[in-house]
């Protein structure tokens, strides 16, 4: 009996537990706290942090691949959807079905702000190289500046799977922090007068425009950057479901149940890549720091292009909508709205900021496509 008890004891995780794993569980606990109490993007941060917890339980082997006649761990199987790049496009299917590209179609120039807000991606790419990351890793870190979770996960799982956990956590954390990170930058770069600009109402958008938009963007975007096709195609298919008005069932399922199922599996397994030896490195600290830089530079570049458009348009464009180009839909657009109203309570920038905001999603997908074309 003592014998058997010893065998059982050996099988527990207790003897194998390392301080690094304990530390990881503490970090997971902090992230769970942020997700629940501070409501930091809980839909993804809660599964991610619980996945982190599960992956750092010694001896549980939830991420073990199959082999030696043993089947694999539960999370390993669920992780195949990340490994094989299936989950992020499926999430984009739902995002497309939820996204109204109307404000962008009504004001096509705002797409430039979505482009400007990708500068942080490329600046951080350079920054990460300077810190000694490989080109692939640097590209994956830079994309955090795009403020687009699924795209960041897609790129990282292709180019730098060893950093996936840290990148995902950084991306979703900063997306949740947009209302804290952006306003000081926005105020520092704009004058009181600029912030007070009231923009003209957007023109209406016809149903035909709404339907042609996803089709043509898919074709043109995928022709120019074939590597962006899975994300762009699914985003636009979802949007076509939405705008066609004839397949409500599919649109609703893409937005809800399919999306939720994929979010659960994606979140838990992305979190599960953050094992102690992957995560507890100086690299993770650099990633967190660089992610913040990426966000800040993207915000600043968006605002600066906004200022240029303010000048060129003779004062018709409020530069505050530029910061919305980082995507983080629709949080960043709401930040534009709030900062604008602090200057002029009757000013409604929200719809104008939605244009750059959704353009920022496309911009980040394009940036990811460029990196994949070069390093993929």
């Amino acid at each position: 009996m003592g014998d058997m008890f010893a065998k059982l004891l050996q099988q527990t995780g207790l003897l194998q537990l390392t301080w690094q794993q304990v530390l990881m569980m503490v970090i997971a606990g902090v992230l769970i706290y942020l997700a629940i109490e501070k409501k930091y993007e809980p839909l993804l941060l809660l599964p991610i942090s619980f996945g982190m917890l599960l992956a750092n339980l010694p001896a549980a082997g939830l991420m073990n691949p199959p082999g030696d006649g043993h089947i694999g761990g539960l999370l390993w199987y669920l992780y195949q959807g990340v490994e094989l790049d299936i989950y992020p496009p499926l999430i984009f299917l739902g995002v497309g079905a939820m996204t109204d590209f109307g404000p962008l179609i009504a004001n096509p120039k705002s797409i430039l702000l979505g482009a400007a807000a990708q500068f942080g991606v490329f600046a951080t790419f350079i920054g990460a190289l300077l810190f000694g990351f490989t080109a692939q890793q640097s590209a994956s870190i830079g994309i955090i500046g795009g403020a687009d979770g699924p795209t960041a996960i897609y790129l990282a799982s292709k180019l730098a799977p060893e950093l996936l956990g840290a990148i995902a956590i950084a991306a979703y954390s900063y997306m949740a922090l947009v209302p804290i990170i952006q306003p000081p930058i926005m105020k520092a770069l704009t004058t009181k007068e600029e912030r007070g600009v009231v923009m003209e109402q957007l023109r209406p958008v016809t149903k035909t425009e709404r339907i042609l938009f996803p089709i043509i963007v898919t074709i043109v975007g995928s022709l120019l950057l074939p590597s962006a096709a899975p994300l762009l195609g699914m985003l636009m298919l979802g949007n076509l479901f939405r705008e066609s008005l004839v397949v409500d069932r599919l649109s609703k399922t893409a937005q809800n149940e399919l999306n939720n199922i994929v979010v659960i599996f994606l979140g838990v397994t992305v979190g599960a890549t953050a094992s102690a030896d992957n995560f507890l490195t100086s690299q993770t600290l650099f990633i967190i720091a660089l992610g913040l830089v990426a966000f800040a530079v993207s915000t600043a570049c968006g605002v600066l292009l906004g200022k240029i458009m303010y000048k060129l348009s003779g004062g018709k464009v409020n530069p505050l909508i530029g910061s919305a180009g980082v995507s983080a839909v629709p949080m960043a657009a709401r930040v534009s709205q709030v900062v604008g109203q602090q200057e002029n309570p009757g000013n409604f920038l929200l719809m104008h900021a939605m244009g750059p905001n959704v353009a920022g999603v496309i911009g980040t997908v394009v940036a990811a496509g460029v990196f994949l074309a070069i390093f993929g």
Partner: protein, 117 residues
């Protein structure tokens, strides 16, 4: 390193180029399709204010999707129509109507089916 900076610049340029191209495409779509359904547009314009400004009439258009909490709503609605409190109303059961339903009902259900097959 130099090459990497080139990549970064090139990348940013490509992003800009693609998005500027998309801008022109959106404008082209507008030129081509922005006026096509003016009539639909006008209808919408006419319908929208009614929907959100109306304050003398009850809601006429309610966008609904599903869920079982509806029992509460049904209770409330029935209560209202009977002029009693929802608390005096005891919904004993919301029976599933057995499948022997009259033609008009079947037709509606089958219509759904067609769209699903």
């Amino acid at each position: 390193m130099w090459e990497d900076i080139l990549i970064a610049i090139l990348g940013a340029l490509v992003v800009f180029a693609v998005l500027i191209l998309l801008q022109y495409i959106i404008e082209a779509i507008h030129a081509f399709a922005g006026r096509n359904d003016k009539k639909q547009q006008k209808e919408t314009a006419a319908a929208a204010p009614v929907q959100y400004n109306a304050d003398e009439d009850a809601i006429q258009e309610v966008e609904l999707e599903d869920e079982e909490e509806l029992v509460a709503v049904i209770a409330a609605a029935i209560a209202a129509s009977l002029n009693v409190s929802a608390y005096d109303l005891n919904i004993k059961s919301i029976k599933r109507v057995p499948p022997y339903t009259p033609v008009w009902n079947k037709m509606g259900r089958q219509q759904q089916l067609m769209n699903r097959l």
